[in-house]
């Protein structure tokens, strides 16, 4: 039902250019559906039915609004005076196009990043405002205001509801990818969440990535993004142990990784690679694939991972990529080389950097310094579970190996 809802809203937004009216009308149509389908059974094409009904409901609402306010919008006038289109426009291809337009509108670079994420979850994924507010640890009122303002901004700023031109596509698509990744990241390392993983957000991000791949099947970075999310998600069950503590990659029980997800991720990555347009997301997915395929930390192809990071850094220099590169170099060429690479980073002493340093110091046999590094890492993280894991790590370092 969520899926049909999203499709119907996308078509209606396309026709009405009005997010609120589209959502209200689709909600009206669902109420009608409950009554009619209960009596007559569901129609063959439920989306088309919902769209057609919602369209009539929208016209009702516009008429009511027009009576209240003589200043009707041009779209409203068009809709009220124009002929009722056949159900043809509700065919699957058209719906796919409308959904894609909606994705690009919600992820437009002229909208603030956090508002892009909120509106995409609301309008494309069909989450309720309450669900989105809970996911981002903010109040429903705040989230409601953010979504309302974003919708108003789309209308008043004239943000278009159309597919980007070929020359705009790479930048616009990158914005879509970062929105999807932000949803995933929030779910995967959920701040202040007892389970540390918000499965609903992770699933929602994967659904969005799948949607983009279905709508644009030949975009290598989109395929790479879906591959990356699946490869991370394959390790979901091993990241937290029975006590609810976080487990480090090297200590994870690799036998419970989801092989089906790993295979899907690798297949997607191969499909992306065959298109011959490498990019930062595909490189990150390739790194995740090498980890996912390795039987243990020692048997991981660190040389290859270091090479992938070397290719990634000039085009995608995030703090975690720089740290990942230093660790991979340390694992491939010896801890001292890795430590030297870490020292060259001018990032703040983030928890991740301190933990990586502790890890390499330990490998270099400098246990006391390693312990101190893990302890500082524990102090600088804001995740309670992560802090506990790092303190345990510091404690373990004290023991002789």
């Amino acid at each position: 039902m969520r899926e049909s809802h999203g499709r119907a809203v996308a078509v209606l937004v396309g026709q009405l250019r009005d997010f609120d009216l589209a959502e209200e009308a689709v909600q009206d149509a669902w109420v009608d559906a409950l009554r009619t389908w209960g009596r007559d059974g569901p129609p063959d094409n439920s989306v088309a039915w919902i769209v057609a009904t919602a369209r009539r409901r929208a016209i009702d609402r516009l008429r009511r609004r027009q009576r209240q306010d003589r200043l009707a919008t041009s779209v409203g006038e068009e809709l009220l005076s124009g002929p009722t289109p056949e159900l043809d426009w509700a065919l699957d291809d058209d719906i796919a196009d409308e959904r894609l337009r909606l994705v690009f509108t919600c992820c437009h670079p002229a909208i603030a990043p956090e508002s892009r994420v909120a509106l995409t979850l609301r309008s494309v994924a069909g989450l309720t405002t309450r669900e989105i507010a809970r996911a981002f640890s903010t109040s429903e009122t705040t989230m409601q205001q953010r979504i309302v303002r974003t919708k108003q901004r789309i209308t008043t700023a004239g943000i278009p509801y159309r597919l980007p031109d070929a020359d705009e596509l790479p930048e616009r698509l990158a914005s879509v990818h970062s929105v999807v990744y932000a949803v995933f990241a929030e779910g995967y390392a959920a701040t202040d969440h007892p389970d540390f993983v918000r499965v609903d957000l992770v699933d929602e991000a994967i659904r969005l990535a799948e949607l983009v791949c279905t709508l644009l099947p030949d975009e290598p970075e989109s395929l790479g993004l879906l591959a990356l999310l699946l490869l991370h998600d394959a390790r979901r069950s091993s990241r937290v142990d029975a006590d609810g503590s976080l487990v480090l990659l090297e200590d994870q029980d690799r036998s419970i990784w989801d092989l089906e997800l790993i295979d899907r991720g690798i297949a997607l990555l191969e499909r992306a690679g065959a298109l011959g347009k490498p990019g930062p997301i595909q490189l990150q997915a390739a790194i995740a694939a090498l980890h996912a395929q390795a039987p243990s930390v020692e048997e991981t192809d660190w040389t290859q991972i270091a090479a992938l990071y070397t290719a990634l850094l000039p085009i995608w220099s995030s703090p975690s990529a720089r740290i990942g590169h230093a660790v991979a170099v340390g694992m491939a060429d010896g801890p001292d080389v890795g430590l030297a690479a870490l020292d060259r980073l001018d990032d703040d002493d983030s928890s991740r950097l301190l933990a990586a340093r502790g890890h390499l110091l330990e490998r270099a046999g400098r246990s006391r310094e390693a312990m101190a590094s893990f302890e500082s890492a524990a102090e600088s993280t804001r995740h309670p579970l992560e802090a506990e894991r790092l303190r345990r790590r510091a404690h373990d370092t004290r023991k002789p190996h």
Binding site: L71, A110, T156, A157, G158, I159, P160, P164, E168
Partner: protein, 126 residues
Amino acid sequence: MKYLLLMASDGPLDGLVGPAGAKTRAMVEEYQALRLDLEHTGMWCGGEVLQPSTSATGLRIRDGRVALRDGPAVATSDQLVGYYLVDCDDLDHAIDVSARIPFAGHGTIEIRPVHEQHPAMRGPAP
């Protein structure tokens, strides 16, 4: 829809209103080419470069009396150096035009949509 493209300076104004050197002449030609193109495509609704904010006069009426003030009246208006008024399809279109204004290379363009249906700027209803 119409957009006001405001040219706001981030620093000294040499690039646009400095002495007429060779570099400035080339830049003026760029502005002229843009203006011609906007006219040919029917997007041009207006545009000017403004005199420095020191030439501005602020006016307000209080207690029925006109009070004048020397200098810029709005906090940020000293940064305003010029504007275009263009008729575009949508924000993407306005972004394309703004990216062609040479000023974008050293200042900021604020893309501000015009409230086209606002009754205050329209004649009374027939």
